[in-house]
């Protein structure tokens, strides 16, 4: 019991010191930057984030431009004799789409990106031993 606590105490202390040190240490910066998992994480996550951002921007501004230049497209009836216009499902769909995009990102981040991140942290923990 006491040993377990001692080990716990030591791990926390080491983690604490390690956390403080890593930022100031210049060699550590280079070490992390050259870590393959880190490189993969950074490049894949940022390209994914940019792709999703651009998708959202394109969808939203397409909608805005449609309103500005061709409001009658959105004002067209879905079915002749009905009341609902095309603009209503389109508008609702953009709201749902925004939510789905956040879900897609969170899904991939939780599995893939966090996996890579843990890999990086493990590698560095091994290195500092």
């Amino acid at each position: 019991m006491h040993y377990a606590m001692l080990v716990l105490f030591l791990t926390y202390t080491i983690r604490f010191i390690f956390k403080k040190e890593i930022i100031v240490d210049k060699t550590m910066v280079e070490k992390i930057q050259s870590n393959p998992s880190y490189q993969k994480l950074v490049s894949e996550r940022s390209s994914f984030a940019w792709k999703l951002t651009i998708t959202m921007l394109v969808v939203y501004y397409a909608f805005i431009l449609l309103i500005a230049f061709s409001p009658e497209t959105l004002g067209a009836k879905i079915v002749a004799g009905g009341m609902a216009t095309v603009g209503i499902p389109v508008g609702i769909a953009i709201i749902v789409f925004a939510f789905v995009l956040t879900g897609i990102y969170v899904g991939r981040a939780n599995s893939e990106f966090d996996g890579l991140l843990n890999q990086v942290k493990e590698d560095i923990a091994k290195d500092t031993k």
Binding site: V29, I32, Q33, A68, I94, I95
Partner: protein
């Protein structure tokens, strides 16, 4: 402190007794008893939470970020509670009620900023910051000038947003509870000071969570009641609305709200990037333990806010049929065209139309809770800018400031901001305040967002670039709004506006970005080299979270 909270409760009770007398026969038709009962339940409940939170708020970290111990789901709900302001609840429902489809365009603009916040800002903020977004912008730049810029940007947005909320709340309470306008504003101000000064972020978070749950359940119920009257057929709902509304079928398609492409794009930029520059929203990302919880927060918040906006659309159309079309014009003012109170009251009268006096009482109390939750979040963000950015960092000149002293400054800043909000709220009573929200979003998008974004992503950013660019964004936003149609023409009465756009973000945001770029690349000072060299270490922390604070157990 217990005494102060009790005293405040007593004051409110006695005020209502007096206010009831004053209000009878003047502003409200009759005293709304169910509304007042619900209102008391909410106020006592939240003051109780404030008392509980105050015992758990000891360190600066507790005060600013609830110790970082809020879960992603809780934080997402609180963000939704923070973001679904009275302006969205009453304003967007009112906009749909007045113009039909155009109301939906606003909802979409308010929502699409969220995914972008998730992809670009939320995890980065959590990994780099501690209490305020200036922690991120000043991470590798010179503390003093960057903190002062961020604090000015934060305080400007907070005060403008507060004015809009205070004036709106004063009017609303005047109508709902029959209290005097000035009195209502003072009441809101005192409650928000109590929540924030005593309970800090923990109390603010729970007020926002409770409010979000109340608002979402109330609006869900209202929407189901509306749809049940039309056999859950949208076509029936729309058909009845078109028959009743004076604009007829025009309410089913985009109308005059967004007339020219530049205004449309500018509105889009202001709403989208403005959200990513609101200090009270950005601050919420520091209340969770790590980047994983931060991203979960946005996921939950986006879902709840999107769901809520779909409901406002149903409620707006429901109000056209059930409120505008109510027998004998029961909800109309004497002119027979506008609603009692104001057209923004569509959602409130719809509550009465579908659920009677008790449900009206519930929704009135929810509207009040909505205002309190939003103003509390704003006040806390403003107070943090004063105490953490200005007092503890910018003017400490590198000295370490005592944490307890910093908290005291924050609490006094809370009181000062609260008093300022009360005074501004009273001063602006008769003003057209529609522009202040536009101005707040434009400043957030033009001054706060570009500096934040560039500090996270652009290696070559220097102190000079960030500071000059940030001020250019701030000042150009201010000048363009003043020269625009709302202030120049409607408020100052100076004739045709010099700048014909209500939202000038399409000019001020790129201007800020270009200035940041230009004044950074032409900066060859020693400090510039240092800023650029420090980027790699910052980026590693930003990408991995290594070195950022973890959660504190409560």
């Amino acid at each position: 402190m217990k005494k102060i909270l009790l005293l405040l409760s007593l004051l409110i009770v006695s005020a209502f007794a007096a206010g009831g007398d004053l209000g009878a026969g003047t502003k409200a038709d009759e005293l709304n008893v169910p509304a007042i009962v619900m209102f008391f339940l909410f106020v006592f409940g939240t003051l109780g939470i404030t008392y509980w939170a105050s015992k758990r708020t000891k360190s600066a970290s507790d005060f600013y970020t609830a110790g970082g111990g809020i879960t992603g789901t809780q934080n997402g709900t609180a963000i939704a509670g923070d973001y679904m302001s009275a302006a969205s609840f009453l304003g967007i429902t009112g906009a749909v009620y007045l113009n039909g489809y155009d109301g939906l365009i606003f909802s979409i603009g308010f929502l699409v900023g969220w995914p972008v916040i998730l992809f670009m800002i939320s995890e980065q903020l959590r990994n780099l910051g501690k209490y305020t977004f200036a922690d991120v912008t000043a991470y590798r730049l010179q503390q003093k000038p960057v903190r002062i810029l961020a604090a000015l940007g934060s305080i400007a947005v907070v005060i403008l947003y507060l004015i809009a909320q205070m004036v709106g709340s004063g009017k609303l309470i005047e109508i709902l509870f029959g209290l005097d306008y000035e009195f209502a504003v003072v009441l809101v101000g005192m409650l928000m000071i109590a929540y924030v000064a005593f309970g800090g972020m923990l109390a603010t978070t729970w007020v926002q969570i409770i409010k979000a749950i109340l608002l979402l359940s109330g609006t869900t119920f209202m929407s189901i009641m509306v749809m049940s009257q039309f056999g859950f057929s949208f076509d029936e709902l729309f058909r009845s609305a078109v028959e009743i509304h004076s604009k007829g079928e025009a309410i089913m398609s985009p109308g005059g709200l967004v007339s020219d492409p530049i205004s449309a794009i500018s509105l889009g930029i202001a709403l989208m990037f403005g959200t990513a520059g609101l200090p009270h929203i950005l601050m919420r990302f520091f209340t969770v333990a790590d980047a994983k919880e931060a991203r979960k927060s946005v996921f939950v918040a986006t879902g709840l806010i999107g769901y809520f906006y779909i409901l406002t659309f149903i409620m707006g159309f429901g109000a056209i049929v059930l409120v505008l079309g109510a027998e004998g014009g029961a909800y109309l003012a004497e002119d027979g065209v506008t609603l009692k109170g104001m057209n923004n009251m569509a959602a409130v009268w719809l509550a009465h139309a579908v659920g009677g006096d008790y449900f009206l009482g519930f929704i009135s109390a929810v509207a009040f809770a909505t205002i309190l939750a939003v103003v509390s979040g704003l006040t806390l963000a403003g107070a943090s800018a004063v105490s953490h950015d200005l007092y503890a960092n910018a003017f400490a000149n590198g000295k370490k400031v005592d944490e307890q002293k910093e908290m005291m400054v924050s609490k006094w800043a809370t009181v000062a901001i609260g008093v300022a909000a009360i005074l501004f709220g009273i001063a602006f009573e008769k003003q057209n305040i529609a522009f202040v929200v536009a101005l707040a979003f434009t400043i957030a998008a033009s001054a706060n967002f570009p500096v934040l974004f560039m500090s996270i992503f652009w290696k070559k950013l220097t102190t000079r670039g960030a500071v000059i660019g940030g001020y250019i964004g701030l000042i150009s936003a201010l000048i363009l709004v003043i020269l625009g149609p709302v202030v120049w023409t409607q408020i100052l009465g100076m004739g045709e506006a010099i700048v014909p756009y209500k939202f000038p973000a399409v000019f001020s945001v790129p201007l800020a970005f270009i200035s940041i770029w230009f004044f950074s690349i032409t900066d060859s000072s020693e400090d510039a080299t240092r800023c650029i060299e420090a980027f790699d270490a910052q980026d590693i922390r930003c990408q991995t979270g290594i070195g950022s604070d973890g959660a504190v157990d409560h």
